[in-house]
C-alpha cells in the first residue's frame, strides 16, 4: 500500500509545525498536539490488539514509529526531536488513561485517593484503576516536581529506558535514575498511605 496523500500531507505538516515550534511558535505546538495524539492513538490501538497474544510490549517502538511517520528521516535538530518525544509521552499518557477510564468508568477514584498495594500485587502489572490513580497522583507530583513527572511519563507511559530519557532530556543517566527512584517512591507512598501523610 503506497502512502496516501493524506499521510504525506500530514508528515509535511507535522514537520513544519515541529520546526515552527522550535523557532518559538507556541501555537505550532498546540497544532501539533492533535496530530501526534491521533497518530499515537491509532498505533496504540493496533498494538493493543496485537499484544493481546504477545506480551513483549514496546511502547517506545510505538512512539518511535509515530515519529518516523510524522516527521520521517528529515533533518530536524535534536532539540526538535526532544520536543516531539516530550509531546508524544504526554499524549501516550492521555491515551492510556483514556483507555483505562473507558474500561473502568465505574471505578473512577474519588477524593480519597488511596489504594492498598499488597506485596504480591505490586509485582503484578497495576490494574486499570490503579493506572487512573497513578495518573491523578502524577498530577500532584507535577505540581511539586515537573521534571520528575515528565520522567514518569517517559518511563511508565511511554516505556523509555533510563538511557533514552537521559538523551531526550539532555541530563545524565544517573540523574534520571535518582529522579525516577524518587518519583516512584513518592507515588507509591501517595497511593498506599493517602494524601495526609504524603505531603509533600
Amino acid at each position: 500500500m503506497e502512502p496516501s496523500h493524506r499521510t504525506v500531507d500530514r508528515t509535511t505538516r507535522a514537520t513544519g509545525l515541529l520546526l515552527a515550534w522550535g523557532r518559538g511558535d507556541l501555537q505550532a505546538r498546540n497544532e501539533l498536539l492533535p496530530l501526534v495524539y491521533r497518530e499515537l492513538r491509532q498505533r496504540a490501538a493496533a498494538y493493543l490488539r496485537r499484544e493481546r497474544r504477545d506480551h513483549s510490549l514496546q511502547p517506545t517502538a510505538l512512539v518511535n514509529e509515530a515519529y518516523l511517520r510524522l516527521v520521517g528521516q528529515r533533518r530536524v535538530r535534536w532539540q526538535n526531536r526532544a520536543h516531539f518525544f516530550g509531546v508524544a509521552a504526554q499524549m501516550m499518557r492521555r491515551i492510556l488513561v483514556d483507555y483505562a477510564r473507558a474500561h473502568h468508568a465505574a471505578r473512577r477514584p474519588g477524593a480519597g485517593l488511596r489504594v492498598s498495594l499488597t506485596e504480591g500485587m505490586s509485582a503484578a502489572p497495576p490494574m486499570d484503576c490503579e493506572l487512573l490513580l497513578l495518573d491523578q497522583a502524577l498530577n500532584e507530583l507535577a505540581a511539586l516536581d515537573p521534571r520528575q513527572a515528565q520522567i514518569v511519563e517517559f518511563r511508565y507511559f511511554s516505556g523509555f529506558s533510563e538511557q533514552e530519557v537521559a538523551e531526550v532530556l539532555s541530563i545524565s543517566r544517573s540523574t534520571v535514575t535518582r529522579e525516577w527512584q524518587t518519583a516512584r517512591a513518592w507515588l507509591y507512598r501517595r497511593l498506599t498511605t493517602g494524601p495526609d501523610r504524603g505531603a509533600p
Binding site: 500500500m1 518511563r155 511508565y156 535518582r178
Partner: protein
C-alpha cells in the same frame, strides 16, 4: 499544602540516602535532618516506600491496559440492543475481527450475522476508507456457496459487517469427529471449489481458507465464510515494508489482529514468507482442507506457530495417511494443490472442479461464458491430464452429485469500479444508464460521459462531453436511445446526443434545466423542466409541453406501455416536510393519481413490477398496468443504493438503471453530506461578503457574543468543532478528541463553549474555555440507546441555564443548571418533536420548533416556566429560530429555505407582527440529518452569518463503484412474485 519541609530538602536528603548502603541509610538520615523531625519523617516514609515498592510502575502501562482489554468481552451488545438498523438477538462468538452477533434486520425481517469491528479498528480513517471499498467489492460476491456480505452498517463511529447468517457446524467441527467419508467429502470439496472459482473470477482471493471458515448446513450445503476479509481488515502497510514482509517465520505470528494465528496450518509457503497472496494461495489452502477432510489430520502441523510454518515451508504431508481407496486423480489433485513452488501448483481452482465434478459435469464448466479454460489457463496441461485420468477412473469413484435443474439464466452480480482518479458527477440527476440490451453501461464521472461495454474491462470516455469545473450546467442524466446506438444527456442548457461509437455530440433541443429524460421508441424524447413535462422529436425541434403545472418539480419520467400513461416522481414545491410522490397520469384525460408516497425514481419493468427508491433501498411492488395500481407490500430488492440531490433538495434522483432486457445497475453507496461550504456575511439587503474562511463542510456556525470569533462544526470524517477568528482570518481546531463533536453554544460572557460530544461512548455534552486552554469538562450525557446526540443550543443570558436538544429518539428539549450539579431535566416533551430552543435575550422567553401541527413550526413560550402559554410564530412551516440581540426581532427559516424576520411588538401579552422574507433560500439551510440552526446574526443585528455552497463534494467517502446484476428479473420474480 501545609507548611513543612520543602520538597527540595526532602529530595536532596532522600537521594543522598539512596547513595548509601541500605543499612547505613537510617543513620545518615538522622544526621542529615538534625533537629528537623518533619523533614526526617518525610524522608523516612519515602525510604520505606522505596524499599517496599517492588516493581511498582516498572512495567510500562500499556501492558496493563492490554491485559484489561483482553479481559473485556468486547463491546458486549446484549439482546435487544440496537446497532444501526439491526436488533441484536444473541452473541455468537468473538474473533480477531471482532464480535459476531445474531441480529434481526427489521426492514427485511431476516436474521443476519453482524460482525462488529473492534472500536480500536474504527479509529483509523485511512484503513476504514479502504475497508469500506473492500466491503463494497465483497458485497458484490453472490454465490450459493459463499456466505454473502450484505453490506456495511455504521453507527456512531462503529462499523459492522452485515453477513449472511449460516446455521450449522463448521467443517472443523465435522473433522473433529473423524475423517469424512469420500462420498460426503467430495460434494463438500466441490462446493468449496465452486465458491473459490466464483470469487477468483471476480479477482477476489479468500486468503484465509480453513475448515473453521467453512460451514456445513444440515442439508449438506457448504458456505464459505469471511471471503477476502483478511485483506480488507489488514492494516495499511507499515512504514518499513521490510518489517511486515520480512521472510522470517515469526512475522506472521505478530500480524495484525492475530488473524494469522490458528491459520498458520493452512497458510501457503508464499504467505508464510510474507509474499502477497494470489489465487494459487487459495488453491494451497483448498488442498490442505481436502487433505484434512479425508484424513482428519492437518496436512502441516507443528507444536507452535513457528513449527507449523516450518512444516509448511519444508515438509511434505504424510501422503500415506490418505485413505487407500482414493482415485488417483484425486490424490494427484491434492498433491498438485500442495506444491510449495506456486509456479508448479495448480494455478486455477477450475482444474479442481474438473476432477471433483466428474466427467458428466466437465461440460458444465466449459459451457459457461468463459471461452475455453483448456487453452486459456496455463494449467491446461495439468487439467487435460487430470481429465484424462478422471475419464478412466470416473465410473469407480465419482459419487458427488450436482443435482437440481439447470437454471436457464444465472443471476450474476459484479462491480464496475471507477478508476482511482474518477468520481461520479451526479449534479442532482442520475449519473448512470444501461443500453436496452443491457450490454452497455453509461455513466458520468469527472464531469464527462463514459461508456463501459460490459464484456470489457475498460471504460471509454466519450470525447466532447466534458463540462467545465464548477459549472452549474454540468453534464447530467444520461439516457439511451431505444436502439442502443445513441446516448442522450443534458448539458449547458441543451439536450444532446452522442453516438456510442464516438463522434461529436449533437444538440437536440434547448432546455434550461432538464430532468428525468427518457427516449421513447417512437422517436421522441420526454423530459421535465420545473413543473412541466415536455416532448421533443429526437431529430431536434421545439419542445412541446404535454403536461403542465404538476404542482411540484418533476423527475424520472417513463411512458408506460400503451403510450397513454406517464409515470413520474413529483417533488412538492416549497414545503420541507411534504414527501415526494410517485404518480401516474393519463395523457388522454389528464387524470393523475398517486401510487406511492415517500418514494422516487420509479420504473415499470416488464415483469409486472414497479421498482422504486426510498431511503437508500430499492423496492419492488407488483403493479397492475391496466388498473394502474400497486398490489401487496413493497419488498426491498437492493440495499445501499446511492442517490443524489441538488443542494436545494428541490429534486433528487436514485442512481439506478434497469434495462428492459433484465439487467440492473446501481451506484453502491450513500449520499454524501460532506459538501464544502464557505462562511459569508449577508446584510439585510442581501449584499454578500465572504469571510475568507477555507471551504469545508461547515454546519452550525455560532458567533461569539463579541462577534469576533465563530465556533463552527466541520462535518467531515472527524466531526470536530473549529474556531474561525474573524479578524485574524485563522481557522483552528477547537476540539481535538477523536470522538465526534458537533454543535456549540457560547456562554454569554464569551468565555466558554458548550458542545455536544460522543467521547466516553455516550451522547454527551461538555464545555471548555473558548480560548482552548484547560481541559474539557463533562456537563451531561445520555446512553446511546436513549438518544443519539445531546446538542446544546442556548444558554440563558445570566449564564445559569443551558437548553439542549436531545435527538435520535424523538427530539425534545432538556434544561440543565450550569451552576452546581448539572443534572439535565426535561424542559419540554410534548410527544411531538421539539428542537432548536433559543432563549430570548431578556431570558423570559424561549423560541423553538415543533412538529405538533404536522410540520415544523416555530413557537414561543415563557421561560423558564414553559407552561404559561404558547404563541405560534410561523404558521406555514418554520424552523431554526433565533432572536436578534435586541430581543425585538425573531428570525426563522421558512420551508423554501428563506430567512424570515418577525417583529416582536409586545412582550405582555406576547405579540408579534407578520413574518417577512429577509433573505431568499440561496444559502445552505439544511443538510440531510443535520437539523440544527445553520446561520447566526451579528451582535448589532445588521448582518447574517450564512453558509454558502462551495465547490464539488469531498470525495473521500463518495461512492466508487457501480453494481451490475445481470438477469436480475429472475431474482425479482423470485423475491416479489406477481401472481
Amino acid at each position: 499544602m501545609t507548611d513543612g519541609p520543602s520538597w527540595k530538602d526532602v529530595k536532596r536528603v532522600f537521594q543522598a540516602a539512596l547513595d548509601h548502603e541500605s543499612h547505613q541509610r537510617e543513620a545518615f538520615v538522622r544526621e542529615a535532618c538534625g533537629e528537623d523531625g518533619a523533614l526526617r519523617g518525610q524522608v523516612e516514609s519515602l525510604l520505606v516506600a522505596h524499599e517496599s515498592a517492588g516493581s511498582f510502575a516498572e512495567r510500562p502501562a500499556i501492558g496493563s491496559v492490554a491485559v484489561t482489554i483482553e479481559g473485556e468481552s468486547g463491546c458486549a451488545l446484549r439482546r435487544g440492543d440496537v446497532f444501526g438498523a439491526y436488533q441484536i438477538i444473541q452473541w455468537l462468538g468473538a474473533g480477531g475481527m471482532g464480535e459476531v452477533y445474531r441480529a434481526l434486520d427489521p426492514k427485511l425481517n431476516r436474521e443476519v450475522a453482524l460482525k462488529v469491528l473492534p472500536e480500536l479498528f474504527a479509529l483509523d480513517s485511512d484503513r476504514l476508507l479502504r475497508f469500506r471499498r473492500e466491503a463494497q467489492v465483497l458485497a458484490s460476491l453472490n454465490h450459493p456457496n459463499i456466505a454473502a456480505i450484505y453490506g456495511l452498517e455504521e453507527t456512531v463511529g462503529r462499523q459492522a459487517l452485515v453477513l449472511e447468517l449460516v446455521d450449522g457446524p463448521t467443517l472443523a467441527d465435522r473433522i473433529a469427529k473423524g475423517p469424512i467419508p469420500l462420498n460426503e467429502a467430495l460434494p463438500f470439496a466441490r462446493q468449496i471449489a465452486e465458491a473459490l472459482e466464483a470469487a477468483h473470477e471476480q479477482g477476489i482471493i479468500h486468503r484465509d481458507l480453513k475448515p473453521a471458515n467453512i460451514k456445513v448446513r444440515p442439508d449438506g450445503t457448504v458456505k464459505v465464510l469471511d471471503f477476502g476479509l483478511a485483506k480488507a481488515i489488514e492494516p495499511v502497510r507499515a512504514i518499513s515494508p521490510g518489517v511486515t514482509q520480512s521472510p522470517t517465520i515469526t512475522t506472521p505470528a505478530t500480524t495484525q489482529g492475530g488473524l494469522i494465528l490458528g491459520t498458520a496450518a493452512y497458510m501457503s509457503p508464499e504467505q508464510a514468507k510474507g509474499q502477497a497472496a494470489d489465487k494459487r494461495s487459495d488453491v494451497w489452502a483448498f488442498g490442505c482442507v481436502l487433505y484434512e477432510m479425508l484424513t482428519a489430520k492437518r496436512a502441516f502441523e507443528g507444536e507452535d506457530v513457528s513449527d507449523t510454518l516450518a512444516a509448511v515451508l519444508r515438509s511434505d504431508p504424510a501422503w500415506g495417511a490418505l485413505p487407500g481407496n482414493l482415485p488417483p486423480a484425486l490424490v494427484e489433485l491434492i498433491q498438485r494443490s500442495l506444491e510449495k513452488d506456486r509456479r508448479r501448483r495448480i494455478a486455477d481452482v477450475a482444474a479442481a472442479l474438473f476432477v471433483l465434478a466428474g466427467p458428466s459435469q466437465a461440460s458444465r464448466v466449459t459451457r459457461t461464458e468463459r471461452a475455453n479454460p483448456v487453452t486459456r489457463h496455463p494449467i491446461a496441461a495439468i487439467a487435460a491430464a487430470l481429465v484424462a485420468t478422471v475419464g478412466i477412473a470416473a465410473g469407480g469413484w465419482w459419487m458427488g452429485a450436482r443435482s437440481g435443474p439447470v437454471e436457464p439464466k444465472p443471476v450474476t452480480r459484479f462491480g464496475v469500479p471507477l478508476r482511482a482518479d474518477e468520481q461520479f458527477t451526479a449534479n442532482g440527476g442520475n449519473p448512470i444508464a444501461l443500453s436496452p440490451d443491457g450490454k452497455y453501461l453509461a455513466y458520468i464521472a469527472n464531469r464527462r460521459l463514459n461508456v463501459r461495454p460490459l464484456d470489457r474491462l475498460e471504460s471509454i470516455p466519450i470525447r466532447g462531453t466534458e463540462s467545465l469545473a464548477n459549472s452549474s450546467a454540468e453534464i447530467r442524466a444520461p439516457f439511451f436511445s431505444p436502439n442502443g446506438q445513441w446516448i442522450g444527456f443534458w448539458q449547458e442548457g441543451q439536450i444532446k446526443k452522442v453516438s456510442i461509437n464516438g463522434g461529436a455530440p449533437v444538440t437536440i433541443a434547448p432546455a434550461v434545466s432538464a430532468y428525468g429524460l427518457a427516449w421513447e421508441d417512437e422517436g421522441t424524447i420526454l423530459f421535465a423542466e420545473g413543473d412541466n413535462i415536455l416532448r421533443v422529436p429526437e431529430a431536434g425541434g421545439k419542445p412541446e409541453v404535454i403536461v403542465g403545472h404538476v404542482k411540484g418539480r418533476v423527475q424520472s419520467l417513463q411512458l408506460l406501455p400503451g403510450k397513454r400513461t406517464i409515470l413520474f416522481t413529483v417533488f412538492p414545491e416549497g414545503t420541507t416536510n411534504a414527501e415526494p410522490e410517485i404518480v401516474v397520469r393519463s395523457l388522454d384525460t389528464g387524470q393523475q393519481q398517486t401510487l406511492i408516497r415517500g418514494g422516487i425514481a420509479a420504473r415499470y419493468v416488464p415483469t409486472g413490477h414497479l421498482v422504486y427508491f426510498a431511503a437508500g433501498t430499492l423496492l419492488a411492488v407488483p403493479f397492475d398496468l391496466r388498473a394502474l395500481a400497486v398490489s401487496g407490500a413493497p419488498v426491498p430488492v437492493a440495499e445501499n443504493v446511492a442517490s443524489s440531490a441538488l443542494p436545494s433538495r428541490a429534486v433528487a434522483a436514485a442512481q439506478i438503471a434497469i434495462s428492459p432486457s433484465g439487467t440492473l445497475a446501481y451506484v453502491a453507496g450513500s449520499f454524501n453530506a460532506s459538501v464544502p461550504r464557505t462562511l459569508v456575511w449577508v446584510d439585510r439587503l442581501g449584499k454578500e461578503e465572504s469571510l475568507g474562511a477555507p471551504e469545508r463542510p461547515y454546519v452550525y456556525p455560532r458567533l461569539s457574543p463579541d462577534g469576533r470569533r465563530i465556533a463552527v462544526t466541520v462535518n467531515d470524517q472527524e466531526q470536530d468543532i473549529w474556531m474561525w477568528d474573524v479578524g485574524r482570518k485563522t481557522l483552528r481546531r477547537f476540539t481535538i478528541d477523536p470522538a465526534e463533536e458537533r454543535y456549540s453554544a457560547w456562554t454569554p460572557d464569551g468565555k466558554r463553549i458548550a458542545f455536544g460530544s460522543h467521547r466516553r461512548g455516550e451522547a454527551g455534552m461538555w464545555w471548555q474555555a473558548a480560548d482552548g486552554t484547560g481541559t474539557p469538562e463533562r456537563l451531561a450525557g445520555f446512553p446511546f440507546n436513549r438518544y443519539g446526540n445531546l446538542q446544546p443550543t442556548t444558554i440563558s443570558p445570566d449564564g445559569s441555564r443551558l437548553v439542549a436538544t436531545a435527538t435520535g429518539g424523538s427530539p425534545n428539549l432538556w434544561i440543565l443548571r450550569l451552576t452546581g450539579d448539572p443534572q439535565p431535566t426535561p424542559l419540554l416533551q410534548t410527544g411531538f418533536r421539539e428542537r432548536n430552543g433559543e432563549i430570548s435575550p431578556d431570558g423570559h422567553w424561549i423560541a423553538y420548533e415543533s412538529l405538533e401541527a404536522g410540520q415544523f413550526d416555530v413557537y414561543v413560550r415563557p421561560f423558564p416556566d414553559v407552561t404559561g402559554g404558547k404563541w405560534p410564530v410561523s404558521t406555514s412551516g418554520g424552523s431554526q429560530p433565533l432572536w436578534a440581540r435586541s430581543g425585538k426581532e425573531l428570525f426563522f427559516i421558512d420551508p423554501s429555505g428563506a430567512l424570515m424576520s418577525v417583529r416582536v411588538e409586545r412582550q405582555s401579552p406576547f405579540t408579534i407582527g407578520t413574518p417577512a422574507k429577509m433573505l431568499d433560500g440561496s444559502y445552505v439551510w439544511s443538510v440531510p440529518t443535520y437539523a440544527g440552526r445553520m446561520y447566526d446574526i451579528s451582535p448589532d443585528g445588521q448582518r447574517f452569518l450564512m453558509l454558502k455552497q462551495g465547490g464539488p463534494p469531498d470525495q473521500t467517502s463518495a461512492p466508487t463503484s457501480i453494481t451490475v446484476v445481470q438477469n436480475w428479473f429472475e431474482e425479482l420474480n423470485r423475491l416479489v412474485p406477481t401472481h
